[in-house]
Structures are given as C-alpha cells and as structure tokens.
C-alpha cells in the first residue's frame, strides 16, 4: 500500500475504458455547452425540425436545439453526481474515522444510527422533498449525501479499525503523538484508496438518482436534464423522430453510468480488502 496504489490499475482494461469514457463525457459536459452556438432555452426554432447543418440533432417540440439541451443536461447530471458523491464521501470519512478512533458507546451509537438510515429508502425521502419543497439541486444532493453515507462509512470504519491496531500507530502513540496528529498524518492518508471506491459508488448512485428524479419530473421544469429529455421525447415515440431526439439522451445517460460503473467496479476489485482474493 506504500507503493503506488494505482500502478496495477493501469493494466486493467475496465479501468482504462471507464477512464477514457469518463474523460470524453466529462470534457463534453465541461466545454460542450459553450461550443454549441445556441442557448438551450431559446424557443425560436421550427418545432420538430429534423437534423440539419444548423441543428445537428434537430429541434424538439418546444422549438429548442436538441444538441444544446443534451450537453447542458449532461453537465447537470454530472454536476449532481459529483457533488452528492463528494458530500457523501466527506461525511463518511469524518464519521467512519471518528467512530473507529473513539470506539466505545459513541461508536455503538453512530453505528446504530447508520443502521436506521440504511433502513430508510433514500429515494422515497428525496421524492417527497422534491415534490413538496422544490429545493435547489444542490440541497437535494446534500440530502442524498445525508441519507447515504452509512454504507461507505461502515467500510471506512472497518478498515480504520484494522489500521488503528497496526504497530506503527501503536509506536507513534507510545512516542506521545496526539490523537489529532495520528488521525491526520496516518489514519486518513492510509485509507486513501477506499475514498476512490466510495466516491465512485456514491457518484454512480447519485447520477442514477438524478436521472430518475428528472425523468419523474421532480426538478424545476426549466432545468435541462437527460431524464427530462427522455421523458418528453417518449411522449412522441410514435413519430419518426425518436432516433435524433430520444436516442441521444438515452445513449449519453447509458455511457455515463457505464463509465462510472466500470471505474467503480475496477476500483472496488483493486482496493476493497474483502475482494482481494477474487481477482
């Protein structure tokens, strides 16, 4: 683990293909919306126009450029997934390490709380909050993180307990290092690979969730998203325009989830201590 932990990953085809896919989609989400000359909210084009040199993917029923919508929707999905995944990871690290380090009743209490949260279906809580309070996407991402940190925190806590009893930690305690110093200098950095596993899994779940909530129509209708595009395009499935309107968001969403899945699976295989033998 003190060697470069990513060395072996570089020869994993799943990791590499996931990385390539994720970079392409990430780049498209980052600079794509600026590359298209149209505002995705501009409704001044001929509704349902087929693809042309001016509108590569045609125009939707509301007279908006589909390519511009697609790229902005992709950006929104990626942003939601990254923020929810990042927030959940931060919570999981703080709580998991704190529980492992303090031990005793605080640890027991935190783990019981985690059990209760694991029993509550996050989807349902999100649906109700989105339908009743119409929060900003970022607030929803925070809510999702607050509900889903336990599974990652459990893994981090288990590994932190293992590291806590290793000799170098005992030695630095013996030499009078403070708890804070040991946590910051030893515990948190040595758990580093687990963070990638946790982040990839949580980001995947959050992107999935964003697509579902958007598809169900739970975000602000003017917020562009892949799920909402699919939901609108599906209403016109009987027309011959599904291949330029319905297919692009479906493909983009599939490729995005697939990229994150490949990364999550290969990271988990590499870094999850329980899976070491099954490689």
């Amino acid at each position: 683990m003190h060697l470069d932990p990513f060395a072996r990953l570089q020869s994993d085809p799943w990791f590499l293909s996931g990385l390539v896919l994720a970079s392409v989609l990430g780049l498209a989400a980052l600079i794509g919306p600026a590359m298209v000359p149209y505002d995705p909210h501009d409704m001044s084009f001929t509704p349902l126009a087929p693809p042309s040199a001016a509108h590569w993917l045609g125009v939707n029923d509301g007279g908006m450029d589909i390519l511009a919508e697609l790229l902005l929707g992709l950006r929104n999905t990626v942003a939601f997934g990254m923020s929810a995944g990042g927030l959940a990871l931060v919570l999981a690290v703080l709580i998991g390490v704190a529980a492992a380090w303090t031990g005793g009743w605080a640890d027991a209490l935190i783990m019981r709380l985690a059990d209760v949260l694991l029993a509550i279906p996050a989807v349902m809580v999100l649906i109700v909050s989105a339908a009743f309070f119409r929060p900003e996407p970022l607030s929803l991402a925070l809510l999702l993180a607050l509900l889903t940190w336990p599974s990652t925190a459990k893994g981090i806590r288990a590994q932190a307990l293992v590291i806590k009893n290793r000799r170098h930690i005992l030695a630095s305690r013996q030499m009078g290092a403070s708890s804070g110093r040991i946590i910051v200098r030893h515990l948190v950095p040595e758990l580093f690979p687990l963070y990638w596993v946790g982040f990839a899994a949580k980001a995947r779940m959050a992107m999935f969730m964003e697509a579902t909530l958007a598809f169900l129509g739970l975000f602000d209708p003017s917020r562009k998203s892949l799920g909402l595009m699919i939901s609108f395009a599906l209403k016109y499935y009987y027309l011959d325009i599904w291949w330029n309107w319905l297919l692009p968001p479906v493909l983009a969403l599939s490729l995005l989830i697939m990229a994150v899945t490949f990364l999550a699976v290969s990271l988990e295989k590499r870094f999850d201590p329980r899976l070491q033998e099954t490689l």
Partner: protein, 324 residues
C-alpha cells in the same frame, strides 16, 4: 447463548421499527413544514382545477393536525386522505395498483435471483475459462446500463418496431377472456417490463454470487468434499453454493431500497398500472395527499421486506443466529 440470540433478533427489529416510526412521524409533520399558501402554489402550476369546496377540503386536511397517535390510528384504519386529481380515496388507489407492482417486482426479483445465482455458481466453477471471462464482461456492461435506457430500447424494438408485445397496460381492457386466455394476456403484457427489470437486477446478482463462490471454493471443506470423491454437482451446490448464497441475501436487503427507483421508472416507461405509474401521475398532477400516501406506503413495504430478509438470513445461516 439463547439470550444473546434473542437480543440480536430484537435489536434488528427495533432498528426497523425506529426507521418506520421516523418515516411515519416525518410524514405526519410534513404539512406543518410546508411554506405558506402551498395549496394555491401547487395547483396553480398543475392541470387540475379545484372547486372552491375541494380547495377548502384540501386545506382543511392539511391544516387539521391530528396528534401523532391519532394519525397512526388513521393510517391503520386506511384513512390515508383523499386524492383530488383522481377524486378517489388514496388508500383505494394504492390497493388497486399494489397487485401489479407486486407481480412485476416479485417475479423480477425471483427470476433474476435464480438466474444470477445459477450463472454465478457455474461461472465461478469454470473460473479462468473463455466462457466465464465473456460472461463477466457482458454482465459488467449490463451493470452499467440504467433501467431508463434498457426500458426505452426494449419498448422501441419489440413493442413499436416489431409489434410483438403491447406497449402499455397490464391486460387488455374490456376483453372478456377465459381464465387461461386472461393469464396469457397478463403474461404478454408483463414480458417487456419484466425483461427490463431482470436485465437491471441480474448483473449485480451474478457478479456477487461469482465473487463469493470463488472465495468459498478456496475453503478447505470444499477440498475435503472433493477428496471424498463426491460428485461435482453435489460439491458445487450442496457444499459450496449454500455458503455463497448468504452474501446475496444480505446484499439484496440493502439494495431493495434502491430497487424501488427501478420499478418506478420501468412502470412509467411501459405504462404499467402499478404504484410507480400512480406516483408518476400523482407528481404530474401535484396531488400532494396521493404522493405522500404512496411514498409512505412503499417505504414501509421496503422496511417490511428487509425485516423478512433478516429472518430468512437467520434461517439459512445457522451462524448468523448464533453470532455474538
């Protein structure tokens, strides 16, 4: 030994009970947290127009705050409120949609578990072979496909393009069929949404079974069974696979909560008249009592299923019942 076993069982049940109470209590407090004049705000942006009387009723339902015990009793008495978009009691709408969701989700879970388990065991047995590598690759790709995508693809291909399966509904309405013809009709309507869900659940089950089976096959007791000269089929299933089943049951419990999303989306895409479609319509019409009812009801079902799985887990793994 006995007291420990029971205390473990009860602390598990207590976790779920606390979870259920948290949900019911939040549902009970929800109206009080709503901002200002939400009735006007909600219905102004929807297609539903309320008469003055209905408007007053809805306001009264949300302004009248029963205490928690009264609310709980009301839930037990199936008094879940009144849907203003469908002009029907919420509990009746839910009970009408429930059988279809149970049929769809239940058959999808059973099918994907049996298939995934069998394929996972066989794959681990043939570890390193070409077939096994191809299967793992295919399943990893499938794992990356969201239900929205597979559902739309199957709908376009088999319902609209080929026309082999109906594109919507759970049965042919107004067709007076004999029992067998009706069953066939129901299966015909079930095929596409079921296929979508099985494609979504199968890869996870396969990959997990394979991983745990690979670990079990390395254990000494499997070697013993082989050395005794037992037939391979018996070693594989009676000795090894039984132990590989356990992680799958645990994981199923953890994942069921997230699978609810899958059913929601798939039912909506295929217009299957279950709870998911009902919720979709309720959201589209901003029907607050109905949304609240469906969400609370399905959350409680998720909890109940998880509790049942805990019990099953204790049954199939004697160690879990005796574990400290």
């Amino acid at each position: 030994m006995y007291s420990r076993r029971w205390s473990k069982r009860w602390s598990g049940i207590a976790g779920y009970l606390i979870g259920a109470m948290v949900l019911v209590y939040s549902s009970h407090r929800l109206p009080a947290l709503l901002p200002g004049d939400f009735v006007t705000a909600m219905f102004a942006s929807s297609h539903v127009t309320l008469t003055a009387e209905q408007d007053a009723q809805l306001r009264a339902w949300y302004i009248h705050r029963p205490d928690f015990g009264e609310y709980l009793l009301g839930l037990l008495r199936l008094d879940w409120g009144y849907s203003f978009a469908f002009l029907t009691p919420v509990s009746r709408l839910i009970l009408e949609a429930l059988p279809w969701t149970l049929l769809l989700a239940g058959s999808a879970h059973v099918l994907s578990m049996v298939l995934g388990f069998w394929a996972g065991v066989e794959a681990a047995w043939r570890r390193g072979g070409r077939v096994e590598k191809a299967a793992v690759g295919l399943m990893t790709v499938l794992e990356g496909l969201p239900e929205i995508a597979t559902g739309v693809a199957l709908l376009l291909l088999f319902a609209l393009h080929a026309g082999w399966f109906p594109a919507a509904g759970a049965q042919t309405v107004y067709a007076r069929l004999s029992l067998w013809a009706w069953l066939l009709d129901v299966l015909h309507h079930l095929a596409l949404p079921l296929a979508t869900l099985v494609l979504a659940y199968l890869p996870g089950n396969f990959l997990l079974t394979r991983a745990s089976m690979v670990m079990v096959l390395g254990e000494p007791f499997v070697q013993t069974a082989r050395a005794k000269g037992l037939p391979p089929l018996r070693v594989r299933y009676r000795h090894a696979a039984r132990n590989a089943l356990l992680p799958m049951v645990t994981r199923l419990g953890l994942r069921i909560a997230f699978m609810v999303t899958g059913v929601l989306v798939v039912e909506t895409i295929h217009s299957y008249p279950g709870l998911g479609t009902l919720l979709f319509n309720a959201i589209a019409k901003r029907d607050l009592p109905l949304i609240q009812g469906i969400v609370l009801f399905s959350s409680l079902i998720v909890l109940a299923v998880n509790l049942a799985l805990d019990w099953v887990y204790g049954r199939i793994d004697p160690r879990a019942a005796h574990a400290p």
